[in-house]
């Protein structure tokens, strides 16, 4: 992975909650290769959205602290030192983002066309007429029929799937190097979900845009990503190529996630789950492994020493006993 387009190092995000500083994302580092798709997986509250939104600088400033040691490089250009004004030229233009809720993510009082054109014109010196044509072309690319007519329509006249296509068109209209998709299919029904994923795959091949796909759906991960980063409680717990992870998960949390995918060929009465929930930001364990309380393989060492991210071949895994897991007898 010499050709990385986005390189995140030591991303650390703290929130101020009720006057107390709590850690939401801890030492997240990854490289996104050109034209690759990275899936960030984890359950609600694991910090995956926070990581992505902090790259876009979209977190509310009033209660968020991104640590100084954080480095985010886009094509070898450091982004964290840019002023807000300079960063505006990056946001939407070189890194863009689509969100979970297509129903509410478009401004209800402006036409689709106006919102798309705004995106183009804020980054390119281009006449309104040319911008209009660019946008029509983009809408056609994302599979919207009668694109020219749709440009003059308002978001409420479009279905959820169509709106998400519009969002994708808007995110890609400036040819960004990186697209961050924050659970783009979660709010859509399954058939539309498949169409949107297929569209993203196709567009990635056409435009060579690298994608960060945030999701909690392992099925989606298997379908579209090249590599997977599993996050738990604000930390990366495992990171490798998607096939490697699915064939040989090493971290107990990843194992649990994969086990909890329902399988048709197994005649189980109940779905397998991971017991317990993610610790809240305020109850985050200060020492030891953050997953220890829910782990079937937990040992004494896990309670006293925080595991570092170990490299095993191409794999990165945050577990003292990775590759050497022994189930506890009392479980």
């Amino acid at each position: 992975m010499e050709n990385s387009i986005l390189e995140v190092k030591n991303l650390k995000v703290d929130f101020i909650m009720d006057g107390e500083r709590v850690n939401a994302v801890h030492e997240v580092s990854f490289k996104l290769g050109k034209g690759r798709t990275l899936g960030i997986v984890g359950e609600s509250g694991c910090g995956k959205s926070v990581s992505a939104t902090s790259i876009m600088r979209l977190l509310p400033k009033i209660n968020t602290i991104v640590d100084d040691c954080t480095s985010i490089k886009l094509d070898d250009e450091e982004l964290t030192t840019l002023s807000d004004k300079e960063f505006q030229k990056v946001r939407g233009n070189r890194i863009s983002m689509i969100f979970q809720e297509p129903m509410t993510s478009l401004n209800p009082v402006y036409t689709i066309g106006k919102q798309l054109i705004e995106m183009v014109q804020s980054h390119q010196k281009i006449s309104k007429k040319d911008a209009f044509e660019t946008c029509v072309e983009m809408l056609e690319k994302v599979g919207i029929p009668e694109a020219r007519k749709r440009m003059k329509e308002y978001p409420h006249q479009l279905s959820g799937g169509m709106r998400q296509r519009v969002m994708i068109a808007m995110a890609l209209v400036c040819n960004p190097e990186v697209l961050i998709a924050d659970e783009p299919t979660t709010a859509l029904d399954v058939t539309i979900q498949a169409q949107i994923l297929e569209l993203m795959n196709k567009l990635k091949e056409d435009t060579k845009t690298s994608i960060i796909l945030i999701t909690h759906d392992m099925g989606v991960v298997a379908e579209v990503t090249d590599e997977v980063m599993v996050m738990y409680a604000g930390e990366v717990v495992e990171h490798d190529d998607v096939k490697e992870i699915f064939h040989n998960p090493m971290h107990p949390y990843t194992i649990g996630l994969l086990d909890s995918i329902p399988k048709l060929n197994q005649n189980t009465e109940r779905l397998l789950t991971i017991d317990g929930t993610v610790p809240t930001l305020k109850n985050m364990p200060k020492v030891g492994c953050r997953f220890a309380d829910r782990c079937h393989y937990c040992q004494d060492l896990c309670r006293t020493e925080s595991p570092a991210l170990k490299k095993v071949g191409t794999r990165e895994v945050r577990c003292h006993f990775a590759g050497n897991l022994k189930a506890k007898e009392d479980k």
């Binding site: 983002m97 209800p108 705004e118 804020s122 969002m167």
Partner: protein, 317 residues
């Protein structure tokens, strides 16, 4: 859109007739009439009283009188003022210019100041802007206007002698400069009452729309925070703001009674007070009908503005 407007106008007609009916019946039920005043002061006998009633048409049944009056309204005839024997429409015509001058100035002033302070306090919540406008809103809406008026007269008219304290032109020339000088104090007082509401309404609506998903989308586009605030957040917050403005328009047209009285402003408000004092029912009814027409028109205008502001409303209409 044209059909929508016509529909709204047609809907307003029965409402208007209903209002005139209630206004007429209430005035008719109220004790004391101009006839009683004339009769008691001149010591008329029963025959003379009857003749007087016939002259004013008061001998006819209530409903008949109502219809005569209503037909008159549609022809622009609001009856004759019983205290001055001049047609009500003529007097209102003389006074309405002064009232509109005062109320429109106050309205524009309060919208500009109120909405601007509201935007600023939502743009930077809990900043010094926010705190100053909060105090401002508090003073404006909690202190009675006559009190603020007296304080301002004391400071600017009596002590500093910068501005005149009463009248529209005073004894000076009837030119714009003189009018503006006389207008400043009453206009500030009238607008003070609604500025607080505008600030709070704008701030609240803005903060609500700023938390919407499409604002995050707008930010992710890489446009400036000010553009996000004005183009995306304010545009969506306009509906409650416009409602608030619409609601205070009739209040400003008919409601500057106290301010007009204090500043001896020759408008509808002081006319209304005189009419009540002299049991001049034709005048009271005339002014009430005028205000209700303003309310109806403002409501229609509001509906049209809503449809323009929010395409979803236009789609339903």
């Amino acid at each position: 859109m044209g059909r929508y407007v016509i529909k709204r106008v047609i809907q307003a007609i029965p409402i208007f007739i209903g209002i005139t009916f209630i206004v007429f019946m209430l005035s008719n039920m109220a004790p004391g009439s101009p006839i009683d005043i004339i009769a008691s002061s001149a010591g008329l006998n029963a025959e003379q009283l009857q003749a007087l009633k016939e002259a004013y048409g008061l001998d006819k049944p209530v409903l008949v009188r109502y219809f005569i009056w209503l037909m008159g309204i549609f022809q622009g005839d609001l009856g004759v003022s019983t205290s001055t024997n001049v047609p009500v429409a003529t007097i209102i015509g003389q006074r309405i210019g002064a009232s509109l001058t005062l109320s429109c100035t106050a309205l524009v002033f309060s919208i500009i100041i109120g909405v601007f302070l509201g935007i600023m306090s939502a743009y930077k919540p809990y900043s010094i802007w926010d705190k100053v406008s909060s105090v401002f809103a508090f003073i404006g809406s909690s202190m009675p206007s006559f009190f603020i008026a007296l304080v301002m007269i004391y400071i600017f008219a009596v002590k500093l002698k910068w501005l005149p304290a009463s009248g529209m032109y005073g004894s000076g020339a009837k030119d714009l400069a003189n009018l503006v000088k006389h207008l400043i104090l009453p206009a500030i007082i009238v607008s003070m009452q609604s500025i607080g509401g505008y600030i709070k309404q704008t701030r609240g609506a803005m903060l609500e729309s700023i938390n919407e998903d499409y604002i995050k989308t707008a930010r992710s586009k890489g446009i400036s925070e000010w553009a996000v605030t004005i183009k995306h957040a304010l545009r969506n917050a306009l509906i409650p703001i416009v409602t608030q403005i619409g609601l205070s328009v009739p209040y400003i047209v008919g409601g500057s009674v106290v301010t007009e009285q204090i500043f001896a402003w020759p408008g509808i408000g002081s006319l209304m007070v005189n009419a009540v004092n002299t049991f001049d029912y034709n005048m009271i009814m005339g002014i009430t009908v005028l205000i209700s027409i303003v309310v109806l028109i403002v409501n229609i205008v509001l509906d049209v503005v809503y449809a323009y502001l929010d395409p979803r409303i236009a789609a339903e209409a």
